[in-house]
């Protein structure tokens, strides 16, 4: 789905470009005034008519100056919120903050008599909130007098000392755009890697040299490459359920500083080859140097874990120790925040603190462990064309034992050894080792989401059914279940609540095993009693065997999909039911046998019922072999769910002979 292409920055065409300018502020065209609907997408509540941005490095202080200007048409009241603008600007304290200025805004609206009127943004209605979050300020304003049919327009400038990522330009947003143009001007002594994401092509991709455009002083003058990138008729981006980060799919242009040459001709490389990054990270104060602190962990690991002779047992011991030692503060990151020592002593830290500690601790115990940098699902996919360190927002531990390896994340106590949380299952990770070159590994869930349910019931003539109900869960299934149970004070409380939410079923006894032994599957056994007598006809007994697992609606609702369906992990559910019923009863209704398969061995659904001498056996198997299904596979997947729901709604009916 994702297409990335490098734009040759220096492959500038020789024809001369007329200096491209911003469109005129506050002068919509008559076509724009008359536009009643956006022809390419009549469902749009609003459309961006034109959008223009420039970005350049200021000669006066080498800050990045970004100018933004947009004009939108508001078709109806559903899009009125487009007139309330909130811009987050970075503020890391000291000199490292961005400034937003020159905010201008105007609304053109049809009045009661259909005449167009103009209303300017009142500067008093612009509000700045300093330190809205730890690292950012927020500027908010609302454009006046918006009504259906209005045109709104605003522009502003942001000055930023953060030049590393230059300025990301988002061609695609939640409303369509008729025309979007970005014109960066990059001095020759700055070199950026540029990538364009998304499925759409640029309608304009031109460049020219602007002579001596950057002159920071001291006689130092550099030419700039001035680029013009534009797209036309960009459709709105619409999120779908079960998809990974929207940024993977949205059309946008990304920058990453590659190198910079200063006044004296000294060149500093930023984005490099992996070998440079390897070196840099190995010596990085918050990464490699932390990993070397393995001695710190020597006398801090419990002796019992260290004496294990089997390396796997030892690794498990250390992993579980670290899992329970730390409380994750919810913050992601690949670097430690305050250093491993401080984090360890405080029992808390970000992902970097915890998982780099884990790597160091493993190494201190003589195991072979490496750090793996990755990008979480929310953070999007990583650039595969050239190394971009800032793409990674997470780090986990890879421990190598014999010929196999295990990926570990100690931020969550409920994860079994070797299973990464779902947020980490995203394409590839880069293994950073202290003593060899870095390399890629695939990040796949090591375990299926799997569940086996078994129900054994004896029915008597009065319609009382008694028996056992057991559930074994593994992988993410067990993880989710453990999480749910932990929300209650105790297992007893959980079961009481479960019992209360199953109206027709009484739980007489329960036995839940391995709630805290996360490496083993979670087992729940319930002794239950159900009243299945039909209230109307005394001779009938009705039972739906799916009483805990029943799916009441199809999770896939869209008629068609544009983006892949990402379920995170493969999954499997087996249900086995055995029912003994009285000899003077017969079965009048039971589900038909079904066997359904998805194309490309993507999965299946099988349901079988057999009756033999007053015993009904019912077996049901649902298997989804893939974590990600393509939009082409969507109709089949949806239909599979339909069939599952249909089959689940069939009750077993027993009737007195």
């Amino acid at each position: 789905m994702k297409k990335t292409l490098i734009l040759g920055l220096l492959a500038l065409s020789c024809f001369h470009l007329k200096a491209q300018e911003d469109f005129q502020f506050g002068k919509p065209t008559s076509t724009e005034f008359e536009l009643k609907k956006y022809g390419q997408d009549t469902s749009a509540n609003a459309v961006v008519l034109r959008e223009f941005g420039t970005a350049y490095i200021s000669s006066s202080n080498s800050n990045l100056i970004f100018n933004y200007h947009v004009r939108l048409k508001i078709f109806n009241s559903k899009a009125f919120d487009k007139g309330q603008i909130a811009v987050m600007i970075r503020n890391q304290g000291g000199d490292a903050f961005e400034t937003m200025r020159d905010i201008k805004g105007v609304t053109f609206y049809p009045d009661e008599n259909g005449l167009m009127r103009q209303s300017d943004l009142d500067p008093k209605q612009i509000f700045k909130q300093t330190k809205a979050t730890k690292f950012s300020d927020q500027v908010k304003f609302a454009l006046p007098n918006i009504r259906p049919g209005s045109i709104i327009e605003y522009s502003y400038q942001i000055e930023s000392p953060f030049i590393h990522n230059f300025r990301t330009w988002e061609f695609q947003e939640d409303i369509p755009k008729i025309y979007s143009e970005f014109s960066p001007r990059i001095p020759g002594n700055y070199n950026y890697n540029v990538s364009l994401r998304g499925p759409f092509k640029l309608s304009k991709n031109k460049g020219e040299v602007e002579k001596e455009c950057y002159s920071p002083g001291g006689g130092f003058k550099v030419d700039c490459s001035k680029m013009i990138y534009a797209m036309e008729n960009i459709p709105a981006f619409k999120e779908e359920a079960y998809m990974t980060a929207a940024s993977n799919f949205k059309a946008a242009m990304y920058y990453e500083l590659s190198d910079y040459t200063d006044f004296h001709g000294v060149k500093t490389n930023y984005t490099k080859e992996w070998k440079d990054i390897d070196h840099e990270l190995k010596t990085h104060e918050w990464f490699g140097l932390q990993l070397k602190k393995k001695d710190f962990f020597k006398d801090r690991l419990p002796a019992t874990t260290l004496t294990a002779s089997d390396p796997l047992e030892k690794a498990k011991g250390i992993y579980h120790f670290m899992q329970t030692w730390f409380r994750w503060n919810g913050i992601r990151g690949k670097y430690t925040d305050e250093g491993l020592k401080k984090a360890f002593e405080g029992h808390a830290g970000n992902v970097g603190d915890i998982n780099l500690s884990l790597v160091a601790a493993m190494n201190s115990a003589g195991l072979d462990a490496e750090a793996v940098m990755l990008s979480t699902r929310d953070n999007g996919l990583i650039n595969n064309l050239f190394p971009v360190v800032s793409d990674f927002d997470y780090v986990v531990c890879k421990v190598n034992i014999g010929d196999t390896y295990y990926l570990l994340d100690a931020t969550d106590q409920l994860l079994p050894f070797g299973l990464l949380p779902l947020r980490c299952i995203n394409d590839r990770g880069r293994v950073m080792s202290l003593n060899k070159a870095s390399y890629w590994i695939d990040l796949k869930a090591s375990q299926k989401q799997s569940k086996t349910v078994s129900l054994k019931l004896d029915i008597n003539e009065n319609g009382k059914a008694a028996g056992t109900f057991s559930v074994y869960s593994a992988g993410y299934e067990a993880y989710d279940k453990r999480r749910m149970i932990k929300k209650y004070n105790s297992i007893d409380d959980y079961v009481e609540n479960l019992d209360e939410s199953l109206q027709k079923i009484k739980i007489l006894k329960h036995d839940i095993q391995n709630l805290d032994t996360v490496d083993q599957s979670l087992s729940e056994k319930y002794e239950i009693e159900i009243d299945i007598a039909d209230k109307v006809s005394k001779d009938r007994l009705i039972l739906n065997p799916y009483f805990l697992e029943r799916l009441s609606e199809n999770p896939l609702k869209l008629e068609e999909r544009n983006y892949p369906i990402d379920l995170g992990a493969a999954s499997e559910t087996r249900i086995i039911v055995e029912i003994n019923y009285p000899a003077n009863f017969e079965i009048t209704n039971k589900p038909s046998n079904i066997g359904l398969a998805l194309p490309n061995s993507g999965g299946k659904f099988i349901s079988n019922t057999a009756v033999e001498a007053n015993t009904l056996t019912f077996m049901n198997h649902k298997l989804l072999t893939k974590a990600i299904y393509s939009p082409e596979e969507y109709p089949y997947l949806k239909e599979l769910y339909n069939k599952i729901i249909q089959s689940q709604q069939v009750d077993l009916i027993f009737k007195k002979k």
């Binding site: 009549t42 469902s43 749009a44 509540n45 109806n76 009241s77 559903k78 009125f80 309330q84 609304t107 609206y109 009661e112 209303s119 009142d122 209605q125 509000f127 909130q129 330190k131 809205a132 979050t133 730890k134 927020q138 908010k140 304003f141 609302a142 006046p144 007098n145 918006i146 009504r147 329970t324 030692w325 730390f326 409380r327 029992h347 808390a348 932990k486 929300k487 004070n489 105790s490 609540n497 209360e500 939410s501 109206q503 027709k504 109307v536 009441s552 199809n554 609702k557 869209l558 008629e559 209704n589 039971k590 589900p591 038909s592 339909n642 729901i645 249909q646 709604q649 069939v650 009750d651």
Partner: protein
């Protein structure tokens, strides 16, 4: 001199040693451990009014977190703004045995703005939840917050969440002897005490030993079962304003004279526009409707928390100029416009939300409302306006503000009034449908549904959306049905009461399943009652049903040729105090006619009847999910 100092510090030390509490988990009374994830060991709130512009809150709080489920009870959040300042925070962490294992202070807290969708809000919060990895543990803290206002005081609510028990809590209110504190106790069986010393007096309340509550569905409003004390001043100061009130009449007068006064000025141009607009209208109601629609077209709702802490509306002329405002600004603006048209209206404070809550008759305080609406006191035809919606019909409040006591600011002062109640059958969803079944089990359906009263906006999320979007989202509104839409249309009716009509045609390929040559027909996929609440053993709270409503579905199934059913015609009635359900299945030719009605009756019922309510809903759910077998003739 020196001796004095030593003496003083001895006293301090002595009192400190004395105050040292035993936080060992073993000392928690056993009854407080039942169904508790956390136990509040001590919660002592002290409010000291030095003068009207100098109030100090001192809170001492200790909570033992027993397990993961109680961890969020350890989260500390302290709010502040331009007039309230956090003076100090300090705290300690104790282990299971009550031994101190750590300390924390203000530097451990994260600071951030309460960034919401408001255009402007300057409130901020400091928050922190210590990282402790072994349970149980105890967090103890003391915080002091100083504020320059005495207009409102937070209520004392010793326990405010489920699964939390409480050992002891106290409230001390200390103020100058001439300061008049008004208060009201709820579910509080103890006695407060009042003592005086010199020029100050102290009122205090204490409560001990509250066992953890469970989550009980269909509970009444929390002040019906949680012990609490609400506080209010008589004389107060707030951001440069001084005033006093002790009843709603005075409160309303204060609002009119301070917050609303002079905010209704409009430009001459707008005045002329309004006069022009209404010149041909005869009755005041006609005029009011024209003015209301004028306002709806001209403005949009934006949350703006500016002005006196969010209590004072934007001036009418500002709203007129900007074309936006929050509820206060828009109500005040509409009031000003109506004024030009010669129509009287009252600015009314209301607690809005589908869960009805009254402005209290017997206790006057700020913060009882969260929204404002407008009342037009026409003779024998009092009309109410919601001013924040561009689409609300004239005179329609919906379930957001219906049937509750509000405070109207009238020229004679504040007055409590009640918004109109929509009767059971007005809150209706009435549907007729014709479903034609094919021999393969597919269904072609056509249905018309009318929504009114509290159900008026059931499907409003689709209204005003383009057709493509409606088609995309309609599936979520009929979750049991997998279908393709072939036609969808909405219509709004205003007379006699506002209602919405939905016309939907669809094809559903998997409506019936084929089993052994038989067709299984789910009798009701359009309106299945699904929200059967869990049982609650030993329920404590009364059963409360917030609103009455009525649903009616009439479905005609056309059976495929050569199919019929052996199922007998059936009529079921479930009739309880909470409501009544009927379902009637009959046959005629090759048709099955299914009629379902469900009525719910609002009211408060004894706790013992809760099991009955669960059974009522469970029975409805089962009847709703019934399946009829069709066999080939």
């Amino acid at each position: 001199m020196n001796i004095k100092i030593i003496f003083l510090s001895l006293i301090l030390l002595g009192s400190k040693a004395f105050a040292q509490t035993n936080y060992a988990v073993s000392s928690i009374p056993k009854n407080l451990l039942i169904k508790a994830g956390a136990v509040v060991r001590a919660y002592d709130e002290e409010i000291r009014v030095n003068d009207l512009t100098d109030v100090v809150y001192h809170t001492k709080f200790a909570v033992t977190i027993l397990n993961e489920s109680g961890r969020s009870e350890g989260r500390m959040r302290f709010y502040y703004d331009k007039i309230s300042q956090i003076k100090s925070i300090k705290g300690s962490i104790y282990n299971e045995f009550g031994l101190p294992v750590g300390k924390f202070g203000e530097k451990n807290f994260q600071d951030q703005s309460i960034s919401d969708y408001s255009l402007y809000l300057d409130d901020r919060v400091k928050h922190y939840n210590p990282a402790v990895t072994t349970y149980p543990y105890t967090i103890e803290y003391e915080v002091e917050i100083k504020t320059k206002q005495s207009l409102f005081f937070p209520s004392w609510v010793p326990v405010n969440s489920t699964a939390v028990s409480l050992e002891k809590s106290s409230l001390k209110f200390i103020c100058p002897i001439d300061f008049k504190l008004r208060f009201k106790e709820y579910c509080f069986s103890g006695k407060h005490s009042e003592t005086t010393e010199g020029n100050t007096k102290m009122l205090s309340w204490e409560i001990n030993n509250i066992a953890a509550l469970r989550d009980e569905p269909y509970s009444p409003d929390y002040d019906k079962f949680l012990p609490m004390v609400k506080l209010a001043p008589e004389n107060f100061a707030y951001k440069g304003i001084k005033g006093s009130f002790s009843n709603w009449a005075e409160y309303g007068r204060w609002m009119s004279e301070t917050l609303l006064k002079g905010r209704d000025v409009l430009t001459e141009q707008t005045r002329q526009e309004i006069l022009e607009l209404i010149k041909n209208a005869v009755t005041p109601k006609e005029k009011a409707k024209l003015v209301y629609q004028y306002m709806q077209k001209k403005t949009r709702y934006i949350s703006v928390q500016i002005g006196i802490g969010g209590y004072q509306p934007f001036p009418a002329a500002e709203v007129d100029r900007l074309g936006y405002g929050d509820c206060k600004g828009l109500v005040n603006y509409t009031k000003a416009l109506l004024n030009v048209a010669g129509i009287e209206s009252y600015y009314c404070v209301v607690y809005a939300g589908s869960f009805r809550r009254n402005i209290e008759d017997s206790f006057t305080s700020l913060n009882q409302g969260n929204h404002v609406i407008l009342c037009l006191p026409f003779k024998s035809d009092t009309t109410w306006l919601e001013c924040t919606s561009q689409h609300s019909p004239f005179g329609f409040l919906g379930d957001f503000t219906d049937d509750r006591v509000v405070l109207a600011c009238t020229p004679e002062g504040g007055k409590l009034m009640r918004t109109p109640k929509m009767e059971t059958k007005e809150n209706a969803q009435i549907r007729t449908a014709e479903l034609t079944i094919s021999a393969q089990g597919a269904v072609t359906g056509k249905l018309t549904t009318q929504f009114s009263g509290a159900q008026y906006d059931n499907h409003d999320e689709l209204l005003n959306e383009p057709y493509e979007e409606q088609v995309k989202k309609i599936g979520d509104l009929y979750p049991k049905l997998t279908f393709q839409t072939t036609q969808l249309q909405y219509k709004k009716l205003e007379d006699p009461k506002p209602s919405t009509i939905e016309n939907l045609s669809f094809i559903s390929n998997d409506y019936c399943s084929l089993v052994d040559g038989k067709l299984l027909l789910p009798i009701n996929k359009l309106n299945v009652f699904d929200r059967v609440p869990k049982e609650v053993r030993n329920r404590l709270n009364a059963v409360y049903i917030n609103r009455s409503w009525y649903d009616e579905d009439l479905i005609t199934f056309n059976l495929p040729e050569n199919y019929n059913t052996t199922f007998p015609a059936e009529k079921r009635i479930v009739d309880k105090a909470f409501g009544k359900y009927t379902c009637d299945i009959s046959y005629s030719g090759n048709k099955i006619i299914y009629k379902r009605t469900l009525q719910l009756n609002d009211g408060t019922y004894p706790a013992e009847q809760y099991a009955d309510l669960v059974n009522f809903f469970q029975e409805i759910h089962e009847l709703d999910t019934g399946i009829i077998t069709l066999v080939r003739r």
